[in-house]
Every structure is written in C-alpha cells, then in structure tokens.
Symmetry: C2
Subunit: 172 residues, 2 copies
Amino acid sequence: GFKTEVLFFPDKNVACKEFFTATLGCEKVTCGFSHDTSSLSRLYQNLSNAKESIDVCVYVFTSSHLASVLIDSNNKGVHVRLITDSEQCEQEESQIWRLRSEGVQVRHDESSFFMHHKFVIIDNKRLINGSFNWTRQAVIGNQENLIITEEPHVVQAFMQEFTSLWEKFNPQ
Amino acid sequence: GFKTEVLFFPDKNVACKEFFTATLGCEKVTCGFSHDTSSLSRLYQNLSNAKESIDVCVYVFTSSHLASVLIDSNNKGVHVRLITDSEQCEQEESQIWRLRSEGVQVRHDESSFFMHHKFVIIDNKRLINGSFNWTRQAVIGNQENLIITEEPHVVQAFMQEFTSLWEKFNPQ
Ligand SMILES: [Zn+2]
Ligand SMILES: [Zn+2]
C-alpha cells in the first residue's frame, strides 16, 4: 500500500517545473532551477500524475508555476476545481484571475472569515494537506509542512469537506 | 490501534475549556460555552490528557483559553515547549508574553519568512497537524482542518522537525 509521506519546507533550491511535470522534461541547456528531488518537486509530481481530478482548497495562491501545472492538467482533460478565499483573490499577485481566464473552475467564500484550508485531493484517492500555501515564499523561505496520505477514511473526510464547500460557495 | 481522526472548523459553538480540561469539569450553574463534543473540544481533550510533553509549533497564537490549557499542563509538570513566529509575537493579542511569564519555554524564528507550521506533538507519540492557528477566529469563523495521527513514521518526522527548529531558534 501507499506509505504516508511527509514533506517539509523551505526547499534549498527551487524545483524545475518542466523537469518534474512535462512529458519531455526540461529541455533547457542551462536550467536555473533544480532537477533534484525536493518538497516542491514531490508536489509537482503528485499534481502532474493526476489522471481524473484535482480538487484544491487553498487560502493564498500566488505561485505562477503551480498555477501553470493546474492549467496544463485542466487542458489535458483532468477535472480541476479550486476553492479559495475571497480577500486573497484581490491580492495583486493572485493567480486566481489567470486560472479562471484559462478555464479552471474556481469558487470562493463570501465571508470576512478565512477559507484557510491548504489541501489538494488527487483522483479522489490521495490527499496532500498541511500549512503550505501555494506561494513562492512558502517554497523558499517559510517553515511549512505537507502530509501526503491515501488513508481512505481521511481522504473521504476531506472529499466530503470539499464537496460541502463547493456547494456552499456556489454563486448561483 | 489509534485510528487517525479528522477535525474541521468552524465549530457551531465554542467549547467550554473547564468542561473538557479541568479535573472537576465545569462548575458553573449556567455556562455560556458548549459542553458538546466539537473540534475544539477534541483539541482540548488531547492537550489536557498529555502526561509527559507537549511540543507546539504555531504561527499565530492569540487564544487565551488555549494558552491557559498549556499553562495548566506546564504547572502540572508536563514539559511544554512552544515555537512561534517572531512577527506574530508582536501582535497585540498574542499570548506569547503571557505564556513566557507563566514559565512556558518559547522560542521563535529570527527571519522575515514565516514559521508557518501549525502542529502539536503530545507525549512524543501523537501528532495534531493542519491549517488551524490557535485563535478564536479559527474556532468560530474560518474553514480549518486538523488531522490527529499516531502513525509512527509521521510522528517521528514531525518530532525531528521540532527538534531541529528548537535548536535552530536557540537564542544562545
Ligand atoms: Zn530544468
Ligand atoms: Zn462550562
């Protein structure tokens, strides 16, 4: 069975998105990013290996590289859904508008409280959860953690939470 | 064995600290807090059942009730250690100065990045980890999660992270 995996940040180097997510890998002769395994590279691999669905709940989303991974998956036919916080959408570096304009389904809360989760469910069977917001600062600066698990009743509980918030934040 | 437990916030009502942590329970004739099981009550019970140690890593700590639970445990002889973020110590409602003045050992980062973890390790064998900062807003308003696990290699990884940060943030 799948063994629960624990990731800590900050990473020493920033992982190369292409190397860990693109079919052809990184084609640069000289790449400024890292091709070594790191916490971000593990997140990249988990996201790009999704076959059917990626359900993300994240408070702050300013990483353009992580946004690109979701957009690429969505374009490949993986069903990507994103829930975020209303105040954070208005941040200058927020990737939310770009994700929406590229066709990713996004919903957000309508309250002054925070939609403060930071988790993603891959193919309804793998959960990645922790303190990690999808920002560059969380990768290279902050102390952060992520736990990756396939424990069924844990994944199930987060799937229910996602579904419940997805309905709750339906703008209709 | 222990089954991993998942908690979601916000709670409908604020749990009574005395009812869930005090030896004699709640002695009020009319109590304004809730005596029903909730996510906060489960956190209270886990903290107050600690026999030997409570190691906390939390980014924001403004809940005076949760501070009181740590102070009570520390006074009973449980070894309580807390790691937090330097900027957050300076918040007006921060409980850090109160905890220090009551004898709880506290260390914090010295960087402009965030010590953004939100986890606690009980008796070196149970981990509680998620998005939940120790604030009133996280209890009654925000969407938040906590996972409680005794999976040995997960708990071990967080114990190593705690020890590493405890040494890194040693002011000596
Ligand atoms: Zn590269
Ligand atoms: Zn009471």
